[in-house]
């Protein structure tokens, strides 16, 4: 049982956040008389919050290094504007324009990374400058106007679903619904195989594993959650394409941050950059790539936002950087660097998303929503600092 105890002790942060999210969801489910978890609203939650979740993943890496990136909202707008110019004005093929847009994001991020890593300017200032420069460029490109509409195939990426909504398959279910259910089952199987494999490896190495009963309990909760989620998506329009993109990004970045040398180096740099440097971490290179990567993810977000609105506007992405930063901190990242997880940032983003959505359903005015979100951020970080001090004093 010592294994279980230390498991909880080491993962208390993660579980605390999940419990907070569940609590908020239950609360709003009750307050909204069950509207929150209706299939349509769940789909809405995904579509509305994809942008902040993707940005939060990139922002998390910057926050782990002990810094932030203020320019993401402006890069979102800039990429949206340029993609509109390419697709709407110049009528470029969608695939080509999307590829080019991602490269533009990479260039914008690398430009900032260059100043941060190699000219050693403070990231706060470089990205503040980037925020102004990229927003300004957006205005120049769009001349203050909105550019629309995008080609249908491009819109589908941001606002579309997996196909088969019209075709009925069996039992009155559409092909899209069946696809969603099958995807849920497939994900459950992959998850179980993955867990079994890692458990087997641990046993092979002779390490202590968690009690089987507890593992089963954990797995069943996760499987139920996955399938409840996919079934409710099936009950509406099926699986949104953005969701797939989002999941792929979350999985890739969780893997990078937890399992690769590159990820470990980011944490080491954030924990103590001097010690990391003297341990052989190429700190400049790491810093550069963290910001270059943020540029790419901002570009992905820029495309999604433009596609969902079906327009490029000069005001797109306004304040997105602050949403992403808040998501990371609610999700347990430390402002002084070295601490935070991708999953945590995603949960933090979901907490904000559910709050937004739930309060909107309740008809709380936008002004009060801001007040409440601010207080939640303050409370979450306060809780975090308090529990950290308490565990530190033991």
């Amino acid at each position: 049982m010592t294994g279980l105890k230390s498991y909880f002790k080491n993962n208390i942060r993660q579980y605390g956040m999940i419990i907070a999210l569940v609590f908020i969801m239950v609360l709003f489910q009750i307050l909204t008389n069950g509207i929150l978890l209706k299939p349509m609203n769940i789909t809405n939650l995904v579509l509305q919050n994809a942008y902040v979740l993707i940005l939060a993943v990139g922002m998390l890496l910057a926050i782990i290094t002990g810094n932030i990136d203020l320019s993401v909202g402006s890069i979102v707008a800039l990429v949206g504007a340029l993609s509109a110019v390419m697709m709407v004005t110049l009528k470029m093929p969608v695939v080509f324009a999307v590829g080019l847009s991602l490269l533009i994001g990479l260039a914008a991020g690398s430009f900032q990374g260059l100043f941060i890593a190699y000219f050693k300017l403070p990231p706060f200032i470089v990205t503040l400058a980037g925020m102004l420069v990229f927003r300004g460029l957006t205005m120049v490109i769009l001349k203050g106007q909105t550019l629309a509409p995008f080609p249908k195939s491009f819109q589908a990426i941001a606002a579309g679903y997996l196909p088969g909504r019209e075709k009925e398959a069996i039992l009155g279910l559409t092909v899209a619904a069946i696809t969603a259910i099958i995807i849920g089952i497939l994900m459950s199987i992959i998850y179980i195989l993955f867990e079994l494999n890692s458990r087997k490896n641990k046993i092979n190495y002779g390490f202590e594993v968690l009690p089987k009963s507890f593992e089963f309990f954990k797995w069943s909760i996760i499987i139920i959650t996955i399938n409840a989620f996919t079934i409710s998506l099936a009950a509406y329009n099926g699986i949104p394409i953005v969701l797939i993109l989002l999941l792929v990004i979350i999985i890739i970045y969780t893997f990078i941050s937890q399992k690769t040398i590159a990820g470990r180096h980011i944490y080491a740099l954030g924990g103590n950059s001097k010690a990391a440097k003297l341990s052989g971490v190429k700190t400049k290179r790491v810093m550069f790539w963290v910001y270059a990567n943020m540029g790419v993810l901002s570009a992905v977000t820029g495309l999604i936002v433009a596609g969902r609105l079906n327009a490029a506007t000069p005001k797109a992405g306004n304040m997105f950087e602050l949403d992403a930063i808040a998501a990371c901190f609610i999700g347990g990242a430390s402002a002084s660097g070295g601490i935070g997880t991708v999953v945590g940032a995603v949960i933090g983003g979901l907490v904000m998303g559910v709050l937004n959505n739930g309060m909107s359903i309740l008809g709380v005015s936008v002004d009060w929503q801001q007040v409440i979100k601010g207080l939640v951020l303050l409370g979450a970080v306060c809780f975090d600092v308090y529990t950290k001090n308490k565990s530190g004093s033991k």
Partner: protein, 514 residues
């Protein structure tokens, strides 16, 4: 007894059960320059902190009398009110404020919170004239050299109507000319009625200006010398400073020294901030397989700088010279290159430069050898746990588990984690900078054993230490380093605390004559 200016009686100060000062008596007469000498960690600085109120009244035993009056200081302000001012080795000036602003910082020439600038500047000018500093008082402190900054500190002290001036290693960062100027100023101030306490490693300076000398060793007063009564002799000071019984504190080792593996030729490096100052000057040395080589020297002698500049150029600028491994020149520009060439450097300041404190033991241990437990950049986490467990038990790190944060470990165990990290990286040459600083005797012995095991496996070790007995007990050969140069090379047989000290002093003398 009107002549006695300051008297400290029976001062005992303990830190978490470790005695730093053991009933120390110090008597300083009016208008004298009183030198306090002793090895690093002997307790000099602690004594001065007690005197200046950094260690508050009640946190130590003993009494302080200043001008015959019993004192109990609760903070530095209390001692400053009586005219006791301490100038630390690291100067406490604000670089982007002017000289005048710095002089009156916290003591502003102001009426109701509004500073009278004319008054401040004219007062500052008078003080600058007094200390012989030929600079405008509106100049930014940042733009003048360390020597002049030292004078600004003294001017600041004078502005507080100082009676007793304490200087902690004031000349450590100064060149000879600046040092002389400073010492002459102390003599001048003495004539004006200001008493000084001077802490210094440079015995030639002490010989020149000190009226009395107190030697401290291991927190106790060993010797009192007075110019009027005793002949102040450097040899005598040295003997008092270092002469302690060396009991068997070091595990024995059968040395098995092989071929030369590593050689540094004409290594010259410039200071990273003062880029026209040679901080490391034409250094040559070599290390053989299976050898423990010591770098002896006083604090600030440049030992750490030499080590770090070699370790992937992580210190200094404009490096020149050759680094040879197995008679082949090797080149590297960053730390990971150095590691892949088989060099490791464990820092003297483990908390700032050695460990990621908020990470756990495992992640600290494996940080420099992730490649060995990874495939295509993906870490095999089971392999990581296995390897870490292996090193943890090998090094006998006492902890609740690999998941424990390094922050919560004791100093000795933290040091073992740092060493473990480097041993895991499997270097051919391991440079250990103050490997036993601030850790207890038991852990020290374990670390010495670890070093012996490493060289028995055919690795080479460079050991930098300020504890001379440790160097003498562990090393096959010792290089004596002073002011960024190698002042001499001593075999284990020739080396003794006296011979090392002599080596340093002879070199300093040679330099000041030249």
């Amino acid at each position: 007894m009107a002549n006695i200016h300051l008297e400290m009686r029976g001062i005992t100060k303990k830190f978490y059960g470790v005695t730093a000062l053991d009933s120390v008596d110090l008597t300083v007469n009016n208008q004298e320059i009183h030198a306090i000498v002793g090895e690093n960690g002997a307790g000099k600085s602690t004594l001065m902190k007690v005197l200046s109120g950094v260690h508050t009244h009640g946190s130590f035993d003993g009494e302080i009398y200043f001008n015959g009056q019993k004192c109990s200081f609760n903070n530095i302000k209390d001692s400053e009110k009586l005219g006791i001012v301490i100038i630390h080795q690291e100067l406490a000036l604000i670089p982007f404020l002017s000289i005048a602003e710095n002089i009156f910082l916290g003591n502003e020439r102001a009426v109701k919170g509004v500073i009278n600038w004319n008054d401040s500047i004219s007062e500052a000018n008078k003080l600058l004239a007094k200390v012989g500093l030929n600079e405008k008082s509106t100049t930014l402190v940042d733009s003048i050299g360390v020597g002049k900054q030292q004078l600004v500190e003294i001017a600041k002290a004078l502005s507080k109507d100082v009676k007793l001036l304490i200087l902690d290693e004031p000349t450590a960062a100064l060149n000879d000319e600046e040092s002389n100027k400073l010492l002459n100023l102390l003599v001048d101030l003495k004539k004006q009625g200001i008493t000084s306490i001077l802490i210094s490693h440079k015995l030639n300076e002490i010989e020149k200006v000190a009226d009395a000398i107190t030697v401290i060793r291991d927190g106790k007063v060993i010797d009192n010398l007075h110019k009027s009564k005793d002949i102040i002799d450097e040899d005598r000071i040295i003997r008092s400073m270092v002469g302690r019984e060396i009991i068997d504190r070091f595990p024995s080792r059968r040395s098995n020294i092989g071929e030369e593996v590593f050689r540094v030729e004409n290594w010259t490096v410039y200071h990273p901030e003062h880029t026209d100052t040679k901080a490391i000057d034409n250094v040559n040395f070599f290390v053989k397989k299976g050898e423990v080589v010591g770098f002896a020297g006083l604090m600030g002698a440049g030992r750490t700088e030499i080590a770090m500049s070699i370790f992937g150029k992580s210190w200094g600028v404009k490096h020149s010279g050759k680094i040879m491994k197995n008679n082949k020149e090797i080149n590297f520009h960053n730390v990971s290159d150095a590691i892949s060439h088989g060099i490791a450097y464990s820092t003297e300041d483990r908390k700032t430069y050695g460990l990621i404190l908020l990470d756990n033991i495992m992640r600290n241990l494996t940080l420099s050898s992730l490649e060995a437990i990874s495939k295509n950049g993906v870490i095999n986490s089971n392999e990581e746990v296995l390897t870490s467990q292996n090193y943890r038990s090998k090094l006998n790190v006492r902890c609740s588990g690999l998941e424990q944060k390094v922050e919560d470990l004791s100093g000795g165990n933290q040091q073992k984690v740092v060493l473990g990290k480097w041993i895991m990286a499997n270097p051919d040459l391991l440079i250990l900078d103050e490997p036993t600083r601030g850790i207890d005797v038991g852990a020290k012995y374990e670390i010495y054993t670890m070093i012996n095991n490493l060289v028995a496996e055919g690795k080479s070790v460079i050991m930098i230490s300020s504890e001379m007995p440790e160097l003498l007990g562990m090393c096959d050969r010792i290089y004596v380093i002073t002011e960024g140069r190698i002042a001499g090379e001593l075999s284990a047989k020739e080396a003794s605390q006296e011979s090392i000290m002599k080596c340093i002093i002879t070199d300093q003398r040679k330099r000041s004559l030249a």
